[in-house]
């Protein structure tokens, strides 16, 4: 046992030792704080076992911010290494591990949970529901994501990180990469993938079945629409990932030959399967981002969304196309001219619905009264920057030209322009916009603007030069280059930009603290004069049952028209409260996900006894859940008294 730990704990790299020490201190700090303030019970009852979608959403977002920090540090280490030629700051192996974890974490453990978090907080409120369709499952989703993320993240201090890129191409990831690193990748993604798939199912059902009376599909807010389409893509795409990861896990652990060089394995199959999931995955993260921008632009242009129906049609078109473009990730694999032509056309065709959306956002701004709040600034900045990402995407989609762009910095710049200007801007915009809904106060606008300018200017300074580096022939994933390559100046500029983005992120974190201390507390649920139902709650932070009285929806932009009606008719009529049925907390998901973690760890290090015991435990949890579900699902009633107390703050004591 001691030998096992000694062999795997990484102690030969000063950077990682530093990380080890800080992790130990952080854990001690957290445990001590919780114990000192006697918060363990609070943590268990109010958060860990909570099935409240708003709390689960907040936990997702906190996890995403931590992962953004980790992925961001990875990015800065890479930029530090590439700033000057022949740099010896990082070794090749270390650099390879860092770009692998950077990519994997940013997509799967940052972008995904951030968006899932915002969906969790907002979507049930937007459709006038009291929770998601399957609250127990929702808790399980979060914890399996979380434990998958923890498993993946511990690789760098214990056993070594995966080092075959986030795409994890075979045969490099099988024959070319011994050690536990790739196992961490396979198991970490597998476990968190369970959570994502469950969330997909949960939101499909929630949006289809739980809408408030009167909210027809064509009255749903755009963010709810994008969530619905995204959930469908998840349900269709994630099983591919599950199977693909499982096959490679078999290859690595049990000696099968699906993707191996030997015994008739086919490494190219991995590339195809990976991108069959991977390309839809890109749209899983970008479509909710489009939804967030749609909400914010309509709110702060003080106008209804332009071209609502064409927005939906283009959403559906994008989701369909997302499944038929995967070959563009390897035009260079030697497909026939006909195959490459077809996939070029399907790829470029995505520009059409995306273009429609861009023009519709411009149409929304047209003849509006634009207020440049921080959330709006992120959303407005998205348009020109994402445009650059979009047009370079079309350029990359032309297969004959892609032979030159493939695997070089032009590509790197392109996908950062779509993923940062699209997804990260949206996450920040949504975070700021719905912050009062989550925490009862706004984030400081002045500090927020500083963060915006640092991050967005830093972003362009970082990635615009990389287009040029691509034209100069700099391949991605190289850990160094020579002075004779002539890439130095642009790399220096790029690193400066990356540093600016880091500063921007730190300012956002500081703003969380500053606003917690000093921001004015919101008195109503409608912080921004919003248009959709999430702003219709009686208090800034909605009560756990969301709506004392389920609102009746008469049009799109439901809340906007409710407010107008109320203005005309004077005071809202008094409503009779009825007891509200709410789901009870659940501890099983946390334990079950913990067992997934233990079992995953056992598989990573081929400790079969551990894996088998955990598997038995997982089945035990399932059996427990099935046998006693009638008790667990019974839920409880919120009494009329309690509702009255919560809804009418003047009567509330203290």
């Amino acid at each position: 046992m001691f030998d096992f730990i000694k062999d795997n704990l990484i102690l030969n790299d000063p950077l990682i030792i530093g990380a080890n020490i800080s992790i130990v201190f952080t854990v001690i700090g957290i445990v001590a704080t919780l114990t000192y303030f006697k918060k363990w019970k609070w943590l268990w009852n109010d958060w860990i076992t909570s099935v409240d979608h708003k709390k689960i959403g907040i936990m997702y977002i906190i996890a995403a911010l931590i992962m953004l920090f980790r992925g961001g540090v990875d990015a800065l280490l890479m930029r530090a290494q590439l700033t000057v030629p022949n740099n010896e700051f990082l070794s090749s192996q270390h650099y390879n591990e860092i770009f692998t974890t950077h990519g994997t974490i940013m997509i799967l453990f940052m972008a995904m949970p951030f968006l899932l978090g915002l969906m969790n907080v907002v979507v049930p409120l937007q459709i006038g529901a009291r929770d998601v369709a399957f609250p127990f499952l929702n808790n399980l989703s979060f914890w399996s994501f979380m434990f998958g993320a923890i498993l993946f993240n511990m690789s760098f201090v214990f056993g070594g990180s995966p080092d075959a890129g986030w795409t994890n191409y075979a045969p490099l990831a099988i024959e070319g990469s011994p050690g536990p690193g790739i196992n961490y990748y396979l198991l970490g993604l597998q476990i968190s993938g369970i959570g994502t798939l469950l969330t997909g199912i949960n939101f499909v059902v929630t949006i289809i079945k739980m809408r408030a009376p009167g909210m027809t599909l064509l009255r749903m807010p755009m963010f709810t629409w994008t969530t619905l389409i995204t959930a469908f893509i998840i349900v269709f795409a994630f099983p591919i990932l599950t199977v693909t990861l499982a096959l490679m896990t078999f290859d690595r652990l049990f000696g099968t030959h699906f993707f191996t060089l030997t015994a008739g394995g086919n490494p190219m199959l991995w590339s195809n399967l990976f991108w069959l999931w991977g390309h839809p995955e890109v749209y899983i993260v970008i479509l909710p981002a489009f939804g967030i921008f749609s909400e914010i632009i309509a709110t702060f242009a003080r106008k209804t969304l332009f071209g609502y129906k064409s927005m939906i049609i283009s959403l559906v078109a994008i989701s369909g196309l997302s499944f038929v473009v995967w070959v563009h990730h390897f035009f260079t694999m030697g497909g026939s001219a006909a195959v490459n032509s077809v996939f070029s056309i399907s790829t470029m065709a995505i520009a059409i619905p995306t273009g429609i959306k861009i023009f519709n956002w411009l149409g929304t701004l047209y003849k509006g009264r634009i207020e440049f709040t921080v959330a709006m600034m992120w959303s407005v900045a998205f348009i020109p920057t994402f445009l650059i990402g979009g047009v370079t995407g079309v350029m990359l989609g032309m297969a004959a030209a892609d032979f030159q762009y493939h695997n070089n910095y032009f590509l790197v710049a392109h996908f950062h322009y779509t993923l940062i200007a699209g997804v990260v801007f949206a996450c920040f915009a949504g975070f700021v916009y719905w912050y009062p809904k989550m925490f009862g106060h706004k984030m400081n606008e002045r500090i927020g603007k500083w963060a915006f300018w640092f991050f967005s200017i830093g972003f362009n300074v970082c990635f615009l030069p990389q287009f040029v580096l691509g034209f100069s022939g700099m391949p991605r994933r190289v850990y160094t280059y020579g002075p004779e390559d002539g890439w130095t100046a642009l790399n220096v500029i790029s690193s400066v930009g990356a540093f600016g983005m880091g500063v921007g992120f730190m300012i956002i974190v500081y703003n969380v603290y500053y606003s917690y201390r000093f921001a004015k507390r919101e008195l109503s649920g409608d912080a921004w004069d919003g248009r959709t139902l999430e702003w219709a709650t009686s208090s800034a932070i909605p009560p756990h049952y969301n709506f004392a009285h389920v609102p009746e929806v008469k049009s799109a932009d439901a809340f906007y028209y409710m407010k107008q009606e109320r203005k005309e008719s004077g005071k809202p009529e008094k409503v009779e409260y009825k007891p509200i049925h709410m789901p009870s907390n659940a501890g099983t998901p946390f334990i079950m996900s913990g067992l997934f973690f233990v079992g995953g760890f056992g598989l990573v290090f081929e400790l079969w006894w551990m894996a088998i015991l955990a598997l038995i435990g997982i089945f035990g949890c399932m059996a427990y859940r099935s046998l006693f579900s009638h008790k667990q699902d019974a839920g409880y009633y919120v009494s009329v008294e309690e509702i009255e107390k919560t809804e009418n703050p003047y009567k509330r004591e203290a």
């Binding site: 090749s92 192996q93 064409s310 634009i370 079309v394 391949p475």
Partner: protein, 293 residues
């Protein structure tokens, strides 16, 4: 920006296509950004006198227009792209009267091996060709999936174990062009480079003759050592590995050799036996960077 300054017909086709797409894209950006700027300036909330229409839902006419224009642009770009794809599958037209020289390019962690079947020559990490002459590369790999790329001469193609991809390249001017593997293949990928040397026809023939007469034969043992993961110096032989193994059909060869020598791919704590046991480390300028602490 060497991709936009190609020195051969293949790169020129791609450059023309890239420039065409850049013009289109700049056009789109100018239009969208103009609208964007005007709208943002005109409809700020601080400008109270601007007309404000909160109930404007959309405009079918406008929405059709901004659907059709992108459709036309996509069609306009698809046609030259498809043409170029078919063109690139053939030998360059300008030199169609010359028979292409066939050279096998094989990636093995982390080196490039070039075999001239007609001439009976094999080189490692450099390839000599005559200028103004079409070359047909038969690209494959012994182990990891690599990508064969000479940016200034034309786009890349994957080399994959058990398969062969064809790629035509041609240099219109003499000179040494940087070639490399652009696909991630692990620790030594950064240094998996080669020199693509275009010589005058006469000098090329001299080099071929010289190599055939003066260079050693490629023994099976030497070739086996090339299968071990490492970076090596340039080498020249007067026979090819094609009689030893056909990587285009046999994807297991390199793995079998590694097993035979007891070498695993490198990882954190893999010892450096593999590296010291074979291949002389020559004067490759980047050799020092390859050492892992």
């Amino acid at each position: 920006m060497i991709i936009l300054d190609p020195k051969g017909p293949v790169g020129a086709v791609q450059k023309d296509l890239i420039m065409l797409s850049i013009y289109y894209m700049l056009g789109i950006m100018v239009v969208v950004l103009s609208f964007f700027t005007v709208i943002l300036l005109k409809y700020r909330s601080s400008k109270k006198d601007s007309d404000y229409k909160p109930e404007m839902h959309g405009s079918t006419k406008l929405e059709i227009i901004w659907t059709l224009i992108p459709v036309l642009i996509v069609i306009a770009l698809s046609i030259p792209n498809t043409k170029a794809l078919y063109e690139l599958k053939e030998a360059p037209k300008a030199t169609a009267h010359k028979d292409p020289i066939v050279i096998h390019a094989t990636a093995a962690d982390w080196k490039w091996i070039f075999s001239y079947p007609e001439e009976g020559i094999e080189t490692v990490n450099y390839v000599n060709v005559p200028e103004d002459h079409p070359i047909l590369f038969k690209v494959t790999a012994a182990d990891s999936m690599a990508s064969f790329w000479v940016p200034q001469l034309g786009g890349q193609i994957y080399g994959m174990p058990g398969m062969v991809n064809d790629l035509y390249l041609q240099a219109d001017e003499t000179g040494t062009y940087d070639g490399r593997n652009s696909n991630f293949t692990g620790e030594g990928m950064t240094h998996q480079k080669f020199d693509f040397v275009a010589l005058e026809e006469e000098k090329y023939r001299e080099w071929v003759k010289d190599a055939q007469e003066n260079e050693p034969k490629l023994t099976e043992e030497t070739y086996e050592k090339l299968m071990l993961p490492d970076t090596v110096d340039k080498m020249t032989f007067s026979s090819t590995h094609l009689s030893i193994v056909d990587h285009g059909k046999n994807s297991e060869y390199a793995m079998a050799i590694r097993e035979k020598y007891g070498v695993e791919a490198s990882s954190h704590d893999a010892d450096k036996d593999a590296e010291s046991s074979h291949g002389k480390h020559g004067d490759m300028e980047d050799h020092d960077n390859n050492e892992d602490d």
